[in-house]
């Protein structure tokens, strides 16, 4: 229940939005889809003094083919990521990840930029973005900068974002035509947060692996895997070792989550290898 006064801004230009955010960086919050922020406000765990909505800022919801990568605006909604032909053709694992986020209503409101900025450890995009070596484009009143996804996530719901910065977009490298990819997750029910999830991009016998859900921030690993049982086991074991700071909660102990990181990493690699063109 939102019970305290706050200021609400709905700027219609990016520089205006960034200026407002700079002015209100102490206690201000950015609103895009609001799918994580509004529940937090309603539960009383978040009490912003100002809310700057990006929803009327033009140019943040583009999705285009930029040669060797896709450029996806921060305000692109999950259902677009899920269904866009460019994403499905060039980063199918990203579309797969988008398609299993929460439910239909959430996917029509929630944004990829918002999810990345919120950095929930169980968010579906995170292992995909580190597996693909995506770049996060940030902007503030004082300029723009790029951060690799592999360096962007710092801790549970903590990122490289400064208080007055927003995620304006992502550059997502394409999966090569001869490569294959997969995204797999374990969750208790449809739409609930992943206990463990894994993304894999395979080119030849080189696999770029992202593991999420089990750990505070997504884990990235480059492994070599020829598809043999022994090589799959070795890759899965590497994922297991990399998840030593797995955390536990009601849905699974740390021990369980770490074990699931092994199981789902193996499955993602196996499926990515099988999907090679």
């Amino acid at each position: 229940m939102l019970s305290t006064d706050f200021q609400f801004f709905a700027p219609t230009a990016l520089d205006e939005a960034l200026a407002l955010l700079h002015e209100h960086q102490d206690g201000g919050k950015v609103l895009s889809g609001g799918m994580s922020m509004m529940p937090a406000i309603n539960l009383g765990v978040l009490r912003p003094t100002a809310i700057v909505s990006l929803n009327h800022v033009p140019g943040l919801d583009g999705l285009e083919d930029a040669g060797d990568h896709l450029r996806i605006g921060g305000l692109v909604r999950h259902h677009v990521v899920q269904s866009d032909p460019l994403v499905r053709a060039h980063a199918p694992l990203l579309a797969q990840a988008a398609s299993v986020i929460a439910d239909v209503q959430v996917r029509h409101r929630g944004t990829i930029g918002g999810s990345v900025a919120h950095a929930d450890p169980s968010a579906d995009y995170l292992p995909v973005l580190v597996a693909l070596d995506a770049t996060v484009e940030l902007a503030s009143a004082s300029g723009t900068r790029d951060v690799r996804a592999r360096e962007f996530f710092v801790d549970v719901m903590m990122t490289a974002l400064a208080l007055d910065e927003i995620v304006v977009g992502l550059r997502v490298p394409k999966v090569p035509a001869e490569g294959g990819s997969a995204y797999v997750r374990l969750a208790r029910v449809e739409g609930s947060f992943a206990i463990a999830c894994a993304a894999a991009v395979a080119v030849g016998d080189r696999v770029s692996l992202g593991v999420g859900g089990a750990v505070p921030t997504p884990v990235h690993l480059d492994v070599t895997c020829d598809g043999s049982e022994a090589s799959l086991d070795a890759a899965a074991e590497a994922a297991f070792q990399a998840c030593e700071d797995a955390y536990g909660d009601l849905n699974g102990s740390a021990e369980y989550r770490r074990a699931m990181a092994r199981v789902y990493a193996r499955r993602a690699i196996q499926q990515a290898l099988a999907a090679r063109g």
Binding site: L43, V189, S253
Partner: protein
Amino acid sequence: MSYVGQSIPMLTNAQLVAGKGTFTDDVQLPGMTFMAVLRSPYAHARIRSIDTAAAEALPGVLAVVTGQEILENTNPIPETYDTAAVGARGVEWYSLCIDRARYVGEAVAAVVAEDRFAAYEALDLIEVDYEELPAVTDPVAAMEEGSPLVEPSWGTNVMASRDIRLGDPDAAFAEADGVVEGVVSSARITGAAIEPRGCVASWDPYKEILTFWDSTQAPHAVRMYLAKTLGMADTSIRVIQPHVGGAFGLKLPTFQEEPLCAYMAMKLGRPVKWIETRAENLLVGGHARDTSFRYQAAYRSDGELIGIRLDVIADIGVPSALCGWGMSFVTWYCLPCVYKCQNSETHLRSVVTNKCPWNAYRGYGKDAASLLMERIMDHIARETGLDRTEVRFRNFVQPDEFPYSQVSGAMLDSGNYPGALRKVMDMIGYEDFPALKEQALAEGRRIGLGIAMELTPEGCSMPGSLMLNGTDSTEVRVTPNGNVIVLTGVTSPGSGNETGIAQIVADGLGCDIARISVVQGDTESCPWGFGNYSSRSIIIGGSAAGVAAKDINDKMRKVAAGMLEIAEDDLDQVDEAFVVRGAAERRVEFADVAREVYSNPHGKNMEGIEPMLQSVRQWKQGNVYHQPEKQGRFSAYPSWPYGAAAAIVEVDPESGHVRILRYCLVEDAGTIVNPLLADANLHGGIAQGIGGAMYEQIAYDEAGQSLTATFMDYTLPTAVELPTLELGHQATPAPFTPLGTKGVGESGVGGALGALCSAIEDALPEIDMQLTALPLSPSRIWAAIQDARAREGAPA
């Protein structure tokens, strides 16, 4: 034609599907104010002082109330389940904590403001000086010497206990071929109704009437309890139950907020609305089922169960005025459910802890009893090598043994347990399953089949209770225009009993159901009654309705015979007309007879007949035994529906993830008034059963803080997790109700618990995995697999 037995769509469908129902939060009154409740952040704390000045100074705030004012101006909330009558300990529970808060969420203070935003904002401005006290959250620890006491004046945390020996358990264990022993526990859960609780109170100082809209199940009981709590005449209170978005027992009175809201409305002279948030509902809306069992079962080599020794521990949270803790007694009382076992020794401990109190929840303890017995049956099958169904067939109460006197004193009314099990085995393809399983294994898929019985006694009637009561009343009125109003003492939480009762009345009157309007949930217009719980609305309210309709029909037949100038014996009723037998063209219409009654009371057709067409009739259940000294037994339940469930699951042994592939239930609820609505109730019951079996759990940390404040943490199954539910019916009419109805509101819950445990174990027969704790979450199943493999020395 007869309406009873027809699948008539629910009469409220059009209104509810259009979103045009009136739920409590839809009630809007001029000058409405809003109440918010400050809740204890501690599991146990002394309240040293409360400073309300800053909250009162906030613009829009009308009043802040604390425990001291409540103590001075109101009475304790009456118990709905008389603790003294059953030798249990009780407490004086007020609408606000007086000097001590006993669980996280207990109501400490309340604010009424012009709108809900100001009310919630003011909560943050109330300064409470708490002295934190030691809390206990584990029921076993709560029974140990030196444990913190939830109620220091008791000197113990055991609220109620039962130590009962039936037959000769020592001899049974001595002569047994084998004994199995183990533990079983079911998690703390809640009902998660789509509409949380809420109420609106409005005081008219001139009429001196308090009107109280409440998302409740029992308006008349609420009226009586409010009157007692507020110290006023119950006739000065009108309780209206608007549409209710699910109740499941958890909306049985009386919670702290109900009298609190009424008190504030009377104090301020303004209408007050209180609407619970989802987080509050999970925290304070009533919990259930948190029960653990330690069992020993003695058996013969042919699978016959000959003795049970049992320790039952129910973690009932803090003591309150709610009736939920009685579930722990019902669990014991149902044993050994559908089986025969004359020798038992039971030790039941209903233990208080610093957690949310139990309130009634669908299943009311019967679910836990079924879980235990089905786990024991599977355990005996595992030890003897007999088929799981064979052990059950060996132990069933047989169809020719009804009415069956169970060891607890319960008188099981009727049934055919082996028939139901055979039927569900046919539905699921029990005989062919091994081949299916083999084939799945060849594809790398692990599937398993489980079965379980459930026993779900209904129509609860407790001596001395003004809520759990085996009587009810219904009024039927036929208007001069030939339309029919039915006013019931029972209510509907959305389950459709108004439709079933209309069917019963239409049959009784011989009229079209379109003539019938049903009015429920208003103490001003409806006759005295106890509302809905324990599946009583059709079996008690419906029976009263049938009797009242017959009164009116008897009178209309006499008048119709007069109008047709024939003897009543020569009269037939066909399609809304009273006709001369054998000469159907000589007829008078239903509406014409109604008009004749009202318009010619002094005419020849009404000679010697009481005027008007109105009848209020009461129904008292048979097969209830409240006089043990005379009747030789005590039994609170007249009606004993049961079911047989079968499930097929696929288990991912690497992750412990389970998918339910098929789910079948054969249910015997006696005569079914409306198959469509009975099935709809079963769908909900099975879904809640599966939820409790596999997903749901209210969790606390050791300090008594809730870990399940939202649906992100309290995991509920969605439509995706539920398979198509396959239902079969078997109807053994109840001998003690006029139509043979038994009640279907709680069926489907209990069987899910055992069936899913059984199915998951069956999927991995190569390992000796025993599932002993609910919910069957992937992590728990994975851990059980690891344990079993470790025990066998196999690599994990």
